[in-house]
Amino acid sequence: MRFRVKIDNQIFPIEACAADEHGYCRMAVNGMGTDAAVKAIAAGHLHLEANGEATNVFVARSGSGLWVWVDGRARLVFDADTEQRRRGTVRREGPREVTPPTPATVVRVPAIVGDHVEKGQALVVVSAMKMELTLTAPYSGTVSAVHTEVGAKVSPGEILVEIEADPEGETHG
């Protein structure tokens, strides 16, 4: 069986066999020269032998991914093919919108409609888990709308401030 597995932005092409009589599933990462034999031990617990060394691996399903624990390192692992289909044409170029990373309460709104702002300039300050976070301009431009106010409860995805980007090449002092 062939798999394309994705961790962070790296794709691992893996060729694997069905389980043998002792329950070991043998596989290799193409191009890496790493062979492994993996066996299911208990709920969420696998045992992995690779290149003569063994380790216990723990896993838990999370949405379309699988959390995997190897030697103190937790990774969210995806099937690259499924993942690609799922994401489709979604652009992956960093945050372009002014939205809180977590549910939060707005404590200050320095952004004013019509103001010109530089990339990185503070637009909204929110508070979550007793910490203040400053949401800054993802690019330089002019504030075209402010959709929040002090005291508002806001959530990720909610656009708090809209910015009309500067034309390419233009800068302001």
Partner: protein, 499 residues
């Protein structure tokens, strides 16, 4: 002795307090908010009472409700844990006025020490060295800036009412002062209900060294040696150890004596912590007194062999300390790593969500105080601490290796944690050599990235899991009954932080 106590807190500290109470034959009462119906502290107590909705002001900060539960349940004393109402003098006063016992210092002492400028004045009068800076707090930007310019940048802006890094800002130059002061005031107001701040000289890469003290109602005061708490992120400790590699017996003795003097000057009773900064020349300065049990108290328990919660309860019940300073000894080396639900790749942003799998580290010299189980929820409303991993061993080197081993055994899936970063910090040259200071994480790990060397093993485990099928008992989704909603926090890993 009390027959029943109420623990006015949640999470790992509430569970830890209940374990000692149980061993003392004392009944335990938990309080909880809506989102904590299935929290481990709720499940661990002999009795549990719903306070209200999940907002802290309706639950863990709601004095009326907590005191009402204490009376209804017949609890005779209240242990506040750390955070929430632990350092709230008004609460301590209310508890006492209602005929209950507050397991902590007297309200008046707490009020004095809770105000950082008053505390600085008390210490200065008792010849405990203090950091150069203001001894009167202020809210006026102009006067604050003036004080800052007089002592010279960099300076630290601090909340007068605060602690734990809340409301604290380093300011490197005049230009940044005004906004930093605004932020500090606002954070201080939301955290402590008081926007007073003050300005202190910012020492260059000081060590943060604190002394645990115990004081009874009969005038006995001892210190239980120091904790080195320099490893911080966002001005909050994340790795602590004892003994401090930088103290020799002479300096330890002088600082311990200063800690006891500070406690006596303040009229302290119960467990407390006197924090100092130590500069490169071995000079130490009083920072503040934490009038509560500290998060990091277990490392002191490990090297002294004492149960601090037991002594807190006994002191609150009026018992005298069963030992004097000469009887107390340190042995071995202990380290604590605080395991938060936070993303070390995204400036330690909180990462609440469901715990999809958890397995505690075990073996000699390992203790994991936590409030986790597979299927538990880490709510977004509260401090995202999951637990404290503590090890002790014969010496610092062995303790570091034990901690690395324990961190690798401390399996937590479903939320981001700093475990991987901590392994790298513990193995780093600056930490190994004991050359730690409060900027270590910023200096050496600000652009930390996970090591990708084992990612191919994780990829192969994924494939094996696909082929071998879901192993019986794997928890794919948290149980829906009585749980909070799945929060968007759990997808936080995919967000880039703008700060």
């Amino acid at each position: 002795m009390f027959s029943k106590i109420l623990v006015a807190n949640r999470g790992e500290i509430a569970v830890r307090i209940m374990r000692t109470a149980r061993e003392m034959g004392i009944g335990t009462v938990a309080v909880y908010s809506e989102v904590d119906r299935c929290a481990l502290h709720t499940l661990t107590a002999d009795e549990a009472f719903l306070l209200g909705d999940s907002d802290p002001s309706s639950s863990y900060l709601n004095m009326d409700k907590i005191i009402d539960v204490a009376k209804r349940s017949g609890a005779q004393a209240i242990h506040p844990g750390y955070g929430f109402l632990a350092e709230n003098a008004a609460f301590a006063r209310r508890v006492t006025a209602e005929g209950l016992v507050f397991i902590g210092p007297p309200a008046a002492v707490m009020a004095n020490l809770g105000n950082k400028t008053v505390a600085r004045t008390i210490m200065a009068q008792s010849n405990v060295p203090i950091i150069p800076g203001m001894t009167v707090s202020d809210t006026d930007p102009a006067r604050l800036l003036q004080a800052a310019e007089e002592m010279g940048f960099p300076v630290l802006i601090k909340a007068a009412a605060g602690g734990g890094g809340k409301g604290m800002r380093i300011v490197h130059d005049r230009a940044a002062f005004a906004e930093a002061a605004e932020l500090a005031k606002s954070e201080s107001m939301s955290a402590f209900g008081d926007s007073s701040i003050y300005v202190e000289k910012c020492l260059d890469r000081p060590r943060h060294v604190e002394f645990q003290i115990l004081a009874d109602e009969h005038g006995n005061v001892v210190h239980l040696f120091e904790r080195e708490c320099s490893i911080q992120r966002r001005h909050q400790k994340i790795i602590e150890e004892t003994p401090c590699p930088a103290l020799d017996e002479e300096l330890r003795g002088r600082m311990g004596a200063a800690a006891v003097a500070a406690a006596r000057a303040a009229g302290y009773v119960n467990a407390g912590t006197v924090e100092f900064l130590v500069d490169g020349a071995g000079r130490f300065y009083f920072l503040e007194v934490n009038t509560r049990l500290q998060v990091e108290h277990p490392i002191t328990e490990m090297v002294t062999g004492l149960d601090l919660v037991r002594h807190q309860i006994e002191i609150a019940a009026g018992k005298p300390l069963p030992f004097d300073q000469d009887r107390l000894t340190r042995r071995g080396h202990a380290i604590e790593c605080r395991i938060y639900a936070e993303d070390p790749e995204a400036d330690f942003m909180p990462s609440p969500g469901p715990i999809l799998f958890v397995k505690s580290p075990e073996g000699p010299g390992v203790r994991f105080d936590h409030a986790l189980y597979t299927g538990a929820q880490v709510p977004m409303q509260y401090d995202p601490i999951l637990g404290k991993l503590v090890v002790w061993a014969e010496d610092r080197h062995a303790a570091i290796e034990r901690m690395v081993r324990a961190l690798k055994e401390c399996v937590i899936l479903g939320v981001k944690t700093p475990i991987e970063l901590m392994i790298d910090v513990l193995r780093s040259e600056p930490f190994r050599t004991g050359d730690v200071h409060t900027r270590l994480i910023d200096d050496h790990f600000s652009s930390w990235q996970p090591d990708r060397a084992l990612d191919h093993l994780a990829a192969m485990a994924f494939v094996a899991n696909e082929i071998l099928g879901p192993v019986p008992g794997t928890v794919s989704t948290p149980y829906s009954i009585g749980r909070g909603m799945r929060s968007p926090w759990q997808t936080l890993g995919a967000w880039d932080m703008t700060r």
